[in-house]
Amino acid sequence: MNEDTMPELEKELVRKAQNGDKTAFQDIVDKHKKMVYFLAWDFVGNHQDAEDITQDVIIKVYCRFHKFNADSKLSSWLYRITINASIDTLRKKGRKKEDPFEHFNSIGEADQPWNSEEKNNPNSQSEHKAVCSQIEQALNQLSHRERAVFVMRHYNDFPLKEIAEILRISSGSVKSYLFRAVQKIQKELANYHPALEVDHG
């Protein structure tokens, strides 16, 4: 689809949904729900909370849809609500360190990456788990803003300009947060892979 026509189509959908068209609202949900889910997952690191956040975000959007300015970018608004809801969840949980695999079974083990190719290799499974656990540990060292910028850029491929729009901060700030996030991650992972240690020179 042409990039120029896409916002117009979306605006039309938004207007219809604001006038009570349930199909239009469902189309909007279908288009964005996975991104909201993954963004929430990147923040909280488990399936159950990510699902709860996704549902809550959509309900919130539904209730506040009449306040949304149809000329603004829907995705930015939606992802801003997602980030705020995710931060709230983290705050409520006191950023308790969780096993990121605790809730995986509820999705089904067959969906897990190590079950596809590495099913018969227990060593590789535990290695993968260990690496993922280190990654989660590293992400937990970041501040909410650093984490927001990092996961949006690294895992969701958002351009820095869009991240600045979503978080309502300047591009310069986004770059600083990203730099600090990468430095912290590098430092944290250096505990496991000494070769990654940051060069402070």
Binding site: Q55, I59, H66, D111, V131, V182, E197
Partner: protein, 266 residues
């Protein structure tokens, strides 16, 4: 050194390809002459490559179907509750006025329920109501028979609570027919509310009162086959914790073997 520090700040941006051609050229030029920065750049790239191992997979179409089902149920519930409180969802710019309207509405409803509880004795549901207020009948209610009646209500209400308007056929519930049963049950709760057991056990009195109100609403609701009405009833039952309290009553009276106050065993 100052140059190194400036260049290092560009490394993450370079990995994500968020730099201008001029900046790119600047980095390349610097790395060609600074082995420490070259090493550091490699480490940043390697770190971010490790971060890629954190995979997250799409839970699959079945999960999303179930997700949509849950979501639609919540959205319907939300709409039903908004209608119940008289709060429109998609009107523009009514913030405070809407808040005060809702608050006033809620206050009036609470006042209505309070006054209704004080002065309302089983009106409006036909000839049985005179029978219901007969003191002789109430006196004959033993805790065992109250237990049986509550048990029956529990089963009926469970069928309503477990009904999923999204997935199941609303006509299967046959609510028009069931309204007669709701009337009967409302009369029975009225009897329980006025029974000697309720007069000494506040919890029985409150449970019977709440149940009576809900059952009367169920018995008198217009267009019972409308799924939104089911959602409203489910929401009222949940809000008042009716099923839990019914279970609690049965457990209490079964386990503690409370002596039968109305028909004592000699």
């Amino acid at each position: 050194m100052a140059e190194c520090s400036k260049i290092k700040k560009l490394f993450p941006l370079a990995v994500y390809n968020e730099i201008s051609p001029e900046e790119k050229q600047k980095i390349e030029k610097h790395l060609a002459s600074c082995s420490r920065c070259e090493e550091e750049y490699k480490r940043v790239k390697h770190t971010l490559k490790i971060m890629d191992k954190r995979e997250r997979k799409d839970p699959g179409p079945e999960y999303w179907d179930e997700f949509n089902r849950k979501l639609n149920f919540r959205l319907q519930k939300n709409s039903a509750e908004s209608q119940l409180t008289g709060m429109p969802i998609s009107r523009k710019g009514r913030g405070w006025r809407m808040f005060w309207q809702t608050a006033t509405g809620a206050a009036l409803v609470i006042l209505g329920i309070f006054l209704g509880k004080l002065i309302w004795v089983a009106p409006d549901i036909g000839p049985e109501s005179t029978l219901a207020s007969s003191p002789a009948l109430h006196a004959s209610l033993s805790s065992k028979s109250i237990q049986d009646k509550f048990e029956k209500m529990h089963i009926v209400l469970m069928s309503i609570m477990n009904f999923n308007p999204e997935k199941e056929d609303i006509y299967a519930l046959n609510l028009i027919e069931q309204q007669r049963l709701f009337k009967e049950l409302a009369i029975q709760t009225s009897e329980i509310r006025q029974s000697p057991l309720a007069s000494i056990d506040k919890r029985v009195y409150e449970l019977a009162s709440d149940l009576e109100l809900i059952l009367r609403q169920m018995a008198n609701v217009e267009n019972p086959q409308n799924p939104q009405n089911i959602i409203m009833i489910q929401s009222a039952l949940t809000q008042k914790d009716i099923l839990f309290r019914l279970r609690l009553f049965n457990i209490r009276y079964q386990r503690e073997a409370v002596p039968d106050h109305t028909n004592p065993v000699i």
